[in-house]
């Protein structure tokens, strides 16, 4: 009998050397071993020591999540691997740009919803808006769902960026410090 293990959603932060191929290495690990990537964001965060931070949202059984972390950890350019989901509370944000093409009543409704969600209007024409919305994924999704009923829509999302709460810098950077 095989006991089906529950799948969980985990947000993992990985600090890596910003060198050629490092992202391909991380993505290749996920595709090669059949792990899921729900979202992945990456950007250089430490310009002095050239390190990037990758935020990965993944789904898997506890054993798979454990494997993912171990596999990430053993890569040479990887400095830190942190499972934000298991290590205390953390904050997740993503940004989405949402374009809605519509007219009449629907334009007014779109503005009203944007206001409730505290989305900013960053471009408009007589027949369209581009909204910028920031929040956790479910807020962004709720916003998009509502906008979808108000016209033709185009969406660009950054994916999740995440950090732990509290007064400790778990994955410190040397930004501006002496080499």
């Amino acid at each position: 009998m095989v006991i089906k293990e529950q799948v969980e959603r985990h947000t993992i932060s990985v600090q890596v050397d910003n060198e050629p191929g490092v992202l391909a290495r991380v993505i290749g690990l996920f595709s090669g071993r059949g792990y899921n990537i729900d979202s992945l964001t990456v950007s250089e965060v430490d310009t002095t020591s050239r390190q990037s931070r990758i935020s990965i949202v993944t789904i898997g059984t506890p054993l798979v999540i454990e494997q993912i972390k171990a596999q990430l950890h053993r890569m040479v350019p990887v400095h830190h691997v942190r499972d934000l989901t298991t290590s205390g509370s953390h904050i997740e944000r993503e940004l989405a740009l949402v374009k809605v093409v519509n007219s009449g009543e629907k334009r007014i409704e779109a503005l009203r919803i944007a206001d409730t969600f505290r989305a900013r209007t960053i471009d408009s024409t007589l027949s369209s808006f581009v909204f910028e919305i920031t929040g956790n994924s479910s807020k962004v999704e709720a916003f998009i769902d509502l906008m979808a009923s108000l016209g033709e829509m185009e969406v660009s999302r950054t994916g999740v960026s995440a950090i732990s709460r509290g007064a400790t810098a778990d994955m410190p950077i040397s930004h501006g410090a002496e080499e």
Binding site: G21, L63, Q67, A70, R74, M75, V76, P77, H79
Partner: protein, 598 residues
């Protein structure tokens, strides 16, 4: 080195040199004695530097795949890192199988690949391939060197990464302009090479203590050792002997671990797994405490995982955290070097005044001795047709007093070699376990012989596998490497034929070895000795003649064509569902889940 020589060296070091010269210099610094390689346009500067170099030997192979296998054989038999040099494009892609093999079996190899000059990368230039892209998933790490300043530090880090922690292959892709650029050889700066990669090797004392307590309370213990013990170095095998002697625990080894405990040790149960012994597998099935030392619960070992050793508490010592809880969950993981962990475990057991629970252990051994009585490796050598098992067993018996190294190809002969050739020391047995690469054995033997010029090196081969890299006979001839090629010739891809017989209703689709060469003439065409044994009466004479020959020999051993390799746990079955022999198969058909497994 004297202070004076030191300064002379310094002066030399500050002299400008080409990237290619710097590569050789850093290889010397890393203690490299031999490179296995094959030239081409993108590595000509390195070949030019080699021409002028007196300290590094180059072995010219006949195919780049063989260069990597040779480096693997060299590495596995000497404990050093193997080095490969190949050109861009086809040179690099030909090396991919070898790299994957080395990754799966945790063998330290550095592979230098030529690359088109940096300004042409991405242009589909002549013999350009995205080598770092292609080799990313089949190396432990890889590099594209983009500046000549980065060259030497990169090579230093590469050697560190290849050998430390769980060993593996590392590719360094070297654009031609970097090889030609002028550079000043940089000094080693303490700590820099190791900075980015620091695997944990030292076990935590508290965990070792816990392990010792678990072992002390065991009634039905087993030690399950793997390739990690070999990776750790000969001292780990010594420590294992001590642990086994101290505890009296039954011990089994994986295919990759053979030699870690002498085959002649009375506590050794033989190999476990798909073609392991009845006693080893049943001991695993019924044990209450399992001590895994540097083995990775491979599917060839566990069989159906849901029924793997169902009642045991498990301790797992492994240097790579990703090996823990991958296939089988364990109760006590210990991230550490196997040698260090075993040594500390022995110390801990001694200091706690460990005495095995004699009554329990005697009872346990009683059960094991009963399983042994099944005599699962018995075979029937009657008549004049040579049984493959007999051929290998005789080969072992006739070489026991020698410093013998065995490599294999992949298939039935490989399993029979594991079953019937006893290894009493580590680093004497080189086989492709994880990838199962036919064509591994001959080039690997070549590398073993290069690293161990005074050793007796035998490639136990199947005729089909042998043909996958037999071009390397030419390399043996060129360098006078006296490798003995012992071909278990059943005129079938025997392992495939066996599966077709047992699982696919005897439909022998494309598994016959047709149009084989006359192996004696083939040998002679390379200027080496060829021998043949047709009947059992020929066998000893042929082995004797093979051993008497100073140079390389091909021995064509004509064996029973349709012999199957037993015991066998069919795919998807559990340890207590072994097939012991031909009469067993009808009773236990392979399950549907088993059919999809490899």
């Amino acid at each position: 080195m004297t202070a004076k020589a030191d300064t002379a060296e310094q002066n030399d070091e500050t002299r400008a040199m080409t990237g290619a010269e710097a590569i050789l210099k850093v290889l010397e610094e890393e203690g490299v004695e031999v490179i296995f390689g094959y030239p081409g346009g993108a590595v000509l500067p390195i070949y030019d530097a080699l021409f002028k170099n007196n300290s590094i030997r180059h072995i010219l192979v006949r195919h780049e795949q063989a260069a990597v296998h040779a480096a693997e054989g060299y590495a596995r038999s000497t404990g050093k890192t193997g080095v490969v040099l190949v050109t861009s494009g086809p040179g690099a892609t030909n090396a991919v199988t070898g790299l994957t093999d080395a990754l799966m079996d945790s063998i330290p190899v550095i592979c230098l690949t030529g690359q088109v000059p940096t300004h042409l990368i991405g242009n589909d230039a002549f013999q350009e391939a995205d080598t770092t892209g292609i080799t990313r998933p089949c190396t432990k790490h890889n590099y594209l060197v983009k500046t000549v300043e980065a060259l030497v530090p990169t090579v230093r880090e590469a050697f560190h990464v290849a050998a430390k922690g769980r060993p593996g292959p590392v590719v360094i892709d070297l654009p031609k302009d970097i090889q030609l650029a002028e550079t000043v050889f940089p000094d080693r700066v303490a700590g820099v090479t190791e900075r980015r990669y620091q695997p944990k090797v030292e076990p935590e004392r508290a965990l070792i203590r816990q392990a010792a307590e678990m072992l002390a309370s065991a009634k039905q213990p087993v030690i399950y050792g793997g390739g990690g013990i070999i990776n750790s170095g000969p001292a780990a095998s010594d420590a294992l002997r001590e642990l086994v002697a101290l505890t009296g625990f039954p011990t089994t080894l994986t295919l990759m671990g053979l030699g870690a405990l002498p085959a002649t040790d009375k506590h050794f149960l033989g190999m476990l797994g798909m073609h392991g012994t009845y006693e080893a597998n049943l001991t695993m099935y019924h044990c209450d405490v399992m001590l895994n030392l540097g083995a990775r619960f491979d599917d060839r070992v566990t069989g159906r995982t849901s029924d793997f050793s169902p009642n045991s508490k498990r301790i797992h010592v492994d240097i790579d955290p990703s090996s823990i809880n991958k296939n089988i969950t364990v109760d006590l993981p210990i991230i550490a070097d196997a040698g260090r962990a075993i040594t500390m475990l022995v110390e801990e057991l001694k200091s706690m005044g460990f005495k095995p629970d004699k009554t329990a252990l005697d009872k346990w051994w009683g059960a094991i001795d009963n399983w042994k009585k099944v005599n699962c490796l018995s075979f029937d050598q009657t008549g004049e047709v040579i049984k493959p098992q007999h051929a290998i067993h005789r080969l072992w018996e006739m070489t026991r007093d020698q410093k013998v190294y065995v490599t294999t190809e992949v298939g039935q002969h490989q399993m029979w070699a594991a079953q019937y050739f006893g290894f009493d020391e580590p680093n004497r047995w080189m086989t492709s376990g994880g990838l199962g690469t036919m064509g591994y054995g001959l080039p690997a033997a070549m590398g073993v012989q290069v690293g161990n010029p005074d050793g007796l090196v035998i490639d136990i081969a199947g005729e089909a596998s042998f043909m996958m890299n037999m071009q390397e006979m030419s390399t043996l001839a060129q360098y006078g490497l006296p490798v003995k090629m012992f071909i278990i010739n059943n005129e079938w891809m025997g392992m495939v034929r066996q599966w077709q017989e047992l699982i696919h209703g005897g439909r022998y689709s494309e598994s016959y070895s047709a149009s084989l060469p006359d192996f004696i003439k083939l040998a002679e065409s390379f200027g080496m000795k060829g021998l043949r044994a047709n009947t059992v009466d020929d066998l000893d004479g042929v082995i004797e003649a093979m051993l008497a020959e100073d140079g390389p020999v091909v021995a064509d051993i004509r064996v029973a064509k349709e012999e199957n390799c037993f015991p066998m746990i069919p795919s998807g079955a559990a340890h207590n569902e072994m097939l012991l022999g031909p009469n067993d198969k009808a009773a236990k058909p392979v399950s549907e889940e088993g059919m999809v497994l490899v």
